[in-house]
Symmetry: C2
Subunit: 392 residues, 2 copies
Amino acid sequence: MTDGDVLPVTGAWQPGDPAGRRKFFTFASDRRFAVEGGRTLSDVTIAYETWGELDPDGSNAVLLCHAWTGDSHAAGRAERGHEAPGWWHDMIGPGRPIDTDRFFVVCANVLGGCQGSTGPASPHPADGRQYGSRFPVVTIRDMVRAQARLMPHLGVERWHAVVGGSMGGMQVLEWAITYPRRVRSIVPIATCMQATAQQIAWGAIGRRAIRLDPRWRGGDYYDADPGDGPWEGLEIARQVAQVTFRSDNVFTDRFGRELADRSAYGDTFDLWQRFEVERYLEYHGIKLVRRFDANSYLLIGKAMDLHDVARNRGSLLAAMRRVSAPTLSIGISSDMLYPPYQQRQIVDVLDSVGTPSRYVEVDSPHGHDAFLINLDQLADPISTFLERAFTS
Amino acid sequence: MTDGDVLPVTGAWQPGDPAGRRKFFTFASDRRFAVEGGRTLSDVTIAYETWGELDPDGSNAVLLCHAWTGDSHAAGRAERGHEAPGWWHDMIGPGRPIDTDRFFVVCANVLGGCQGSTGPASPHPADGRQYGSRFPVVTIRDMVRAQARLMPHLGVERWHAVVGGSMGGMQVLEWAITYPRRVRSIVPIATCMQATAQQIAWGAIGRRAIRLDPRWRGGDYYDADPGDGPWEGLEIARQVAQVTFRSDNVFTDRFGRELADRSAYGDTFDLWQRFEVERYLEYHGIKLVRRFDANSYLLIGKAMDLHDVARNRGSLLAAMRRVSAPTLSIGISSDMLYPPYQQRQIVDVLDSVGTPSRYVEVDSPHGHDAFLINLDQLADPISTFLERAFTS
């Protein structure tokens, strides 16, 4: 697909919702896109959606960065190409915290993804067959550099704000470091400056589960019969993540020790009889399998594990010294995956280099996923922060 | 093997260590052992080790209960049949916190295990072939009832104390509830009264990884060629557990973001290039695979998920009201798997039913595994508790 192709939204909008549509921008057709790891890509397509209108002076653009299995569909109902409703639907729209009467809001599917942007399930330009195992490892920096190509295309010279949670927050930090003059302010949420060993451990275990699935076929499963892909491995990988996205308390309140199944053998117990929490995890695993490509899951997870703002920049401090954008760092009290100390560290480091920053903590039992759930607590700090006229 | 068979320990002992030896006790040859789930077993063997001497009045016996992948080898070096040194080696011996000059110490491999006690890798009495998928689900209560058969054999009418961490602590609680007259005091450590949804979730994900391994063969893999068992599934299951056994802080201090491998492709990055933490997890996974049976891992994990002292006892309070043994409940500050609130709950509930109890918290960064690591902090509370002359 080329620049300007539009998939119309069908029946997705509530009255009062801004009109959104998914568009595609293709670059690197002439000059290949070199990824940080050393290989190159050509014909890179980035799928994106926009809400609201860009001011004539191009000063009201807000970039949203999505998380691991998110995509460009930040707002709107489920629609063709997006089985889930917008991941921040209630945050975006006229009069909403990210007010589309004021801001031109943009969200792009990441490089390596599977929701319209070029990724391992895309056709390789050389032979038209899916990349599969031929797709290079990409980094958060590659995702951000690919998004940056959108700016001249959209007529945006500088983002009023770059905002995102989890892996979205990693992109937010990389935006402010890589392109300090193109970012007026940033809002990293439930994220970190460097993936920790524990975060890497969870990611790696998920990757091993996918690799264990014989239907993964070393990454080249696209020619297999439908239903013969690495769905079980992906489902298990997702289950690992899903537990880390939530919390002990919420699992206890919601599932307790309720059983979902009777024993298949007439005994009181059997090995595969599920508790409710297992049914919940399987539900979420299967739900992801239906909409997400296993190779994209592997690649994007690896990109998160490789996330380290200090890489090739001398030190963490040297990297963060490049951040001139005023920063609102948001943590979540019950986040076991990206614990709040990591978002406080962002503010501590920015303080030490003299960049204005503020820390806000969402008080929630929901764990990491609170950045998608507790919009009530995110709304005020974010809308207030966006209203500020940054003069830097 | 029958009662009294002895495997001598060869070269395992330090000067001053008590002489230990693994013995086997077989029961249910005449009267079959009905497991809680409804099936029966015959010819049940329990492997156990003892340290110290039983007093003539049989009043100085201490039972230690091991955790998931532990076994009867609580003290002693690595030896034949035990690739790892005793899991509480420095706790047990003359003058040590559990003083074998004073106490007769017993530790038995659990029913369903693979270190000498009857489990899925044991020969089925009907045909001499391994049980495999024919082995029934067992519960913590079944493990305790099997251990109870040891008492007359050993000449013990009442344990001075029953002590154990993690799954060992589950057995400790079931001992005090099932056999209140046979237990003078208990020390449950880093454990809970009922497995929570989050604990079940971690266990279930590990089981799914083993089931995904095509070499698991529905549990009947014992006839496969060596090296063709479900080792990779077991390795991944162990990796999930290993992360929950430790802590974010310790992983960061120990591994940070160090790489273990160079890229295999000459790129800066590739998908299977490991960080140090991945090498560590693989090391622990492979180490377990070499000494542990995948079916035992499945079964014992399921037993933990089924752990609920309230089951068929009316309520949690009704169950805990049966506990008359003074209780020392020990928690670990950084335990993410069995967080300290769960061990405080034990004391709260015992308080409410009038049973003397005390809570001690180990202040450690090591996470759940601190019950095997921070013996410095366990030594005093446990030895002091054991010295008390309980008169109930």
